[in-house]
Symmetry: C2
Subunit: 336 residues, 2 copies
């Protein structure tokens, strides 16, 4: 999709390396703990421990927004790499194992001291909504030194999660990666991650969207928060002035994809029963980027996104349970 | 069900404290790795690491046979306690959190040095069969000192898993617990755990069944291995001479329960789709013991066992995903 040598990787993801701890919870528990339903809230180590004490039995699954997207891309058959910081502890080993076992290149050096591997406590309510409390742990140690410009140059798209704006050094790493990508003639994609994350970093994100981002992925709340407007339509039109390509998800209402003057409005992929919405946006990004890099038309890219999201929300946990390549081929009615 | 003061706990479980790492796997991977399908095999730390390197992405869920049974009993509303050894590491914290958050009393001191918390690599094949590779880790440090005779005396039934025969000091702890239980006028239940485990410890198990066990839980392969006979019927009749109560599971064929001259043969509870058979026997034991301790008739005990097993095999992982008390009440057509 760009000039120069053919890229070795379809997508390089850079993000927080997190292990999710998921548990079913009633709405009363969320109220009792004072949690903001549906959001991702940052907590410190002590608060994370306190919340964990109140959480029911959990299951641990590797997570992290960009890492989930990369896992989805690997499952779709794309060549991928990931950069993110774990500690050299048990959960760090779990995270590394899970992503490498999908065939993803992951060789960021683990931190040998400091905070433990990041964890995200996810309370899944009966309405399948997820409420996340993240302790960033070792993620705060991700730094510009962890970004290898050659690796960035070897990927058609460098994909960055907005959550990276929370750990301060990671933000510098992010900017280094974006500059390296463009220097190599590659593209930069950004996910806005979360409306509260957009609130925390609005000016910074606006600057990015104006100057550094080619492909934007966001949901309707995030994009409305970014431009401080009250309607999805207004936000969409403001956005289209700044980025080449955008994929905007709207939950059960489907998604809208833009490129230049082209706009397509797609329905959501049908799902028998939504079990857990954790990772829906991450999975959508995987399908969309997969299509984009391999040169699919915009409608097919959006459909691929919807197919991947539908798989992930039909079970507990943010990563696909079945190989997405076969699923996508079956749904699209052509070979992957 | 016994003389003396009313027991504070319905069941005290003593077992290996293990975190399961579950992953989907093809039969070809099992062949390639030389694994014995359907069995639990003990591996050392180095082999566990080697197998983990070859395993696909996993999810971590607290496990351990007796611990799963205690989790099931807690979900049924029973007052329970558990004794088992973890290390003071991240997976140890996960194990402790998961069992305590169900309301189970668990205050075995974690090991502060030595091997890490035990892990069991579980390869789940498309036929829903599970193949387990266990690194016992800190479990080998469970010792007689970890058994508090007062706690044993406070439980109507002390439930022991056959797998405890593998770590040598745990076996001594087991015998101490069995003697303490009988001294307090309580009952001792044993699960044979695995046909290969029975092979490893046949003489020891025979002695136990003859002299220490009141309630035996086993599947047909285990019981046939114990008595070295070729038919389930022969094994069942040999067993009935030695224990007061037995619950024998036969997979899709259902279960057979015995008490004195009473024999009942029950069909398996219907399941829409079997996803993962991990923990089926553990869940059956939970339902059966729950009924037994609260004084249900033998047929109801067996039905409760079947209902719990059906829930657990209908999803990934060995512990119940929905509260079993409500499920059991709905299926049995009366309040739990």
């Amino acid at each position: 999709m760009t000039d120069g040598a053919a890229p070795e990787y379809a997508v390089l993801g850079i993000g927080n390396a997190i292990v999710d701890i998921l548990s079913h919870a009633g709405d009363d528990l969320l109220t009792d703990l004072g949690l903001v339903k549906g959001a991702m809230t940052l907590v410190d180590s002590a608060m994370s421990d306190r919340l964990y004490d109140r959480m029911g039995p959990g299951i641990e699954i590797s997570g992290g927004s960009a890492a989930n997207t990369i896992a989805g891309l690997a499952s779709l058959g794309a060549a991928t790499a990931f950069v993110g910081k774990v500690r050299d502890d048990e959960l760090g080993k779990v995270f590394g194992h899970d992503i490498r076992s999908l065939g993803v290149r992951f060789d960021t050096r683990p931190a040998v001291d400091g905070a433990p591997t990041a964890r995200c406590l996810i309370f899944v309510t009966p309405d399948a909504q997820r409420t996340m409390q993240t302790f960033l742990g070792a993620c705060v140690d991700l730094a510009p030194d962890d970004i290898d410009p050659d690796l960035v140059g070897a990927a058609a798209v460098t994909y960055l999660e907005g959550y990276l704006w929370d750990p301060p050094k990671a933000k510098e790493a992010f900017v280094k990666a974006a500059l390296s990508a463009h220097r190599a003639g590659r593209q930069v994609a950004l996910s806005l991650s979360d409306p509260f994350c957009v609130d925390r970093h609005r000016e910074s994100f606006m600057d990015l969207v104006r100057h550094h981002v080619d492909i934007l992925l966001a949901n309707e709340k995030e994009i409305m928060s970014l431009f401080r407007v009250d309607t999805f339509d207004a936000a969409m039109h403001l956005l289209s002035e700044h980025v080449s390509v955008a994929a905007l998800t709207r939950g059960a209402k489907g998604s809208v994809v833009l490129s230049g003057n082209e706009i397509h409005i797609l329905d959501a992929e049908p799902v028998d029963r939504v079990i857990d919405s954790t990772g829906a946006g991450d999975a959508y990004a995987a399908g969309f980027l997969h299509g984009l890099v391999r040169g699919d038309d915009l409608v097919t890219c959006a459909r691929l996104g919807g197919i991947c999201a539908a798989e992930v929300i039909s079970h507990f946990g943010a990563r696909p349970e079945v190989p997405l390549d076969g699923l996508a081929a079956a749904k699209l009615g052509n070979p992957a």
